[in-house]
Amino acid sequence: MNSHNPLDPVYKAYAVASDCFRVVTRAIRNPSKELIDRTHFDAIDPATVDTAVDIAAQQAADLAVLALFATFERFVIEHLQMANRLLAAGYPQQYSAKLAQKFENEVEYWKFGEVLNLFKGEVDPDLIGQVKQVKQYRDWIAHRNPKQPPAAVSNPEMAYDVLTRTIEQIQQTHMPTAEVMQDVAPALVE
């Protein structure tokens, strides 16, 4: 697992929330006044507690997928914006500087699927396909249409796994080599 994975805080928060649901389910079996006082469970029909917790757990899982993908998008965009430096170091200088500025301004508005395609070649295309499917699932959660099932289902564990492996491959293959840095460094200094 990546030691600098930007997805970790989101995933850990989801794991803690999942355990909270588990603890609640156990606690509700033998409810004490002290435990459920001034909570939602104080007024709820005990027979419907399991259903209420199930629904809440599913909502939490869906929100975790949304948050994981949002964090992943930010990582990819920020990674692309690093490429701005390489563009700025090109020749002729004024043209390159304008190109780099245009790139930085507009990259946030590119279609994310097209952004992902930039990584084909260095990142396993099958993995990129899975990331696009996670995005489709994220979109389905955000605009849920009960008449239309999702193209493919996911859960926070799978989303975290797919997105983490993609981040790792991007980090492994997109670290500039010493040769590239040597070429670019003089331009960066200017």
């Binding site: 699927g113 990129i128 193209a151």
Partner: protein
């Protein structure tokens, strides 16, 4: 550009139904060995671009009390070839079907005259053969589901401790 709906995932509901049926039969045997009773059933599934179909499900009981259910979720699953959920009163686990031998892809390194390609394994870490796997939430290494692991998972979702 490939359509993301077909990119990277092999869809086959018929294969999925066969895999689920075989898995349910295997689990039924494990449960009976531990003096649990099972009730077979079926669940209707609706997935995009596939005609509605049914897949086997299973209820697992001890002395008439439901400990857990195996519920098929679908053949169209991100990062796997199908999913069945083991659902109990306190938790649920996603059980995923993985293929042991994925194709190798070629990773491009360098640019221009320095461009080169090197093979990279697509096989998932921890997946050594076709089958049903459970992925632990922290380490994310898939573990092949055998009788002992399944009974541990059943305890985890139901809080039922085997004597």
């Amino acid at each position: 550009m490939n359509d993301p709906r077909t990119e990277g995932v092999q869809f086959s509901s018929r294969e999925y139904v066969q895999r689920v049926t075989h898995f349910v039969e295997e689990v039924s045997g494990w449960c009976k060995d531990r003096e649990l009773t099972v009730e077979r059933g079926a669940v209707s599934l609706r997935e995009q671009a596939v005609a509605p179909y049914e897949a086997a499900s299973l209820k697992i009981l001890k002395d008439g009390i439901l400990l857990g259910s195996m519920v098929p979720v679908g053949s169209r699953v991100i990062g796997a070839e199908g999913r069945v959920d083991l659902i109990g009163r306190v938790a649920r686990h996603a059980l995923l079907y993985h293929l042991g031998n994925g194709p190798v892809f070629w990773r491009q390194t360098g640019t221009g005259g320095n461009a080169a390609s090197s093979p990279s394994r697509r096989i998932r870490y921890g997946v050594h053969c076709d089958g049903w796997y459970w992925t632990e939430a922290t380490i994310l290494k898939p573990k092949h589901i055998d009788k002992d692991l399944f009974l541990d998972l059943l305890t985890d979702v139901s809080d039922y401790e085997f004597p």
